[in-house]
Symmetry: C2
Subunit: 317 residues, 2 copies
Amino acid sequence: MGIEVLAVDLGGTNLRMAVVAENGHIEHRERCSTPHVNDPQAIVDAIAGLAELCHKRSSTGERITILGAAVPAILSLGEGKIDRAPNLPMLDGVPFKPLLEKALGIDVILENDATAAAIGEHWLGASRGCESSICVTLGTGVGGGIMLGGQPVRGPDGTAGEIGHICVEPNGHPCGCGSWGCIEQYASATAVVRMVGEIMAEQGTVADATKPLTAKEVYAAAKQGNRAAVETFRQMGSYLGLTLAGLVNALNPDAVVIAGGMSAAWDMFFEEMREQITKRAFRVPALRVKLVRAELGDDAGILGVASLAHARLKQGI
Amino acid sequence: MGIEVLAVDLGGTNLRMAVVAENGHIEHRERCSTPHVNDPQAIVDAIAGLAELCHKRSSTGERITILGAAVPAILSLGEGKIDRAPNLPMLDGVPFKPLLEKALGIDVILENDATAAAIGEHWLGASRGCESSICVTLGTGVGGGIMLGGQPVRGPDGTAGEIGHICVEPNGHPCGCGSWGCIEQYASATAVVRMVGEIMAEQGTVADATKPLTAKEVYAAAKQGNRAAVETFRQMGSYLGLTLAGLVNALNPDAVVIAGGMSAAWDMFFEEMREQITKRAFRVPALRVKLVRAELGDDAGILGVASLAHARLKQGI
């Protein structure tokens, strides 16, 4: 059978768990809705329940001894504490690792979800074989994870990788983080919906006010040649390229991986993004950097923490 | 006597060499003007000449076996080649390491000058004891070096650390690098001279056209309360803070070290720089990061390459 680990991706909507073999093969999956009650123990119990199901239903003979958990939060990795989880505020300040270890009776490794995705893509996805890579997750917000020398960059507080909150417009749109003009305000699904409205207003087009658009609808409109929608994705690509050009100059990565739901709009923003990088970054690192779409989809985070768990087991042996 | 190494800082104006002990003590110094003729061999010969002087005039008994060289260039470290040296164009494309090794008859280590300064400050200067730091050199241009986990970030092409060419104004001033709106256009000595002119024009102040200002004069004017000069440094601090806030979010460093000639204007831009970082970066990494002035002055690069040379000797033993 080989060695297996448990890996969980704690999302704002779903809790997804998998049993993952040493080669990254997903042996078994379980999922449930993320409990949204004002008690962190509800989430701990839900994870423990999924782990129990994984043990019962998967073909694993021996009991698995470690769980990797990808968490949408700023973590104090030393203490295994969640500092701030914007989408799961009941976890703010919670000593999540000790709680999980007590409930599951096995070792737990926590990782920020965006960093976990970068590790996963580095292990088995779009940036495999690359020593250094930047993984940008375009979703409701913009997340990021940085790998240098084959290792994730976490920083002393574990907060490194917050690429979504690099400023691209000094007097730009206010951001949920407290700053303004962050790339998250120009390249997330939320941003696309706001921007298309602004651009329609500029163009004098009247939007159908009875039906708020979704990012998916803006993309569909762009595919049909709608001017405002096309311009929205052009601007998104331009701002994203500007941000990435700065990171290419600062870090000289082998690859930039674009992940998250908004990466589905790749064909509408890629050309402008690449052009900005080509025009703005130094020639040598701009030629070097591979610009690629993520390959692991929703499994990137799970595979990232599974990779950490397998590495921990190997160190232990 | 202990082990000694040679270290040279190849500047656009001066060539400065030192004999450096294992503890960083500078035992002996030599300097000469940087030859500006269209022949790379002239620079190689000048360095060999200084090395000979160091051997003769210093009290070193044994012949030193290694030279570290801080070079103002983008390097291909693998081949020991200079890709591009904007201020010493006769070195573009030159296999500098083999040429130096042939002329001096000893091992040579090349390093980008801004990265060397970051290593020097990490070893013996303002960021000693810090695992991760960002060193920003504010001079004629804006250079940078990044240390993570106690090691310099070079990237596969050796071009990492080019913080000066992160964009802060999407439609900003054209930059020598080919991009536009780079922080170099808002925080270098060159930028300060341009900006004070722009601000005086906005304020309707007439500049004395017979006498172009220097950055030093703009600073002196700011110290005396000149409105345009004060506003220039406020804007410089604001843009610098915006850039650093992004790097604090992306890399979560222990320290940011401000080096270079323009760091002398620290008291005129520091408050605004700090305020932008506090307002824009995440709370935890913003509280973490120490904002400090460089301590090693012109010796940062020399000490940085000396540290690399000593490390190489230790590996060799």
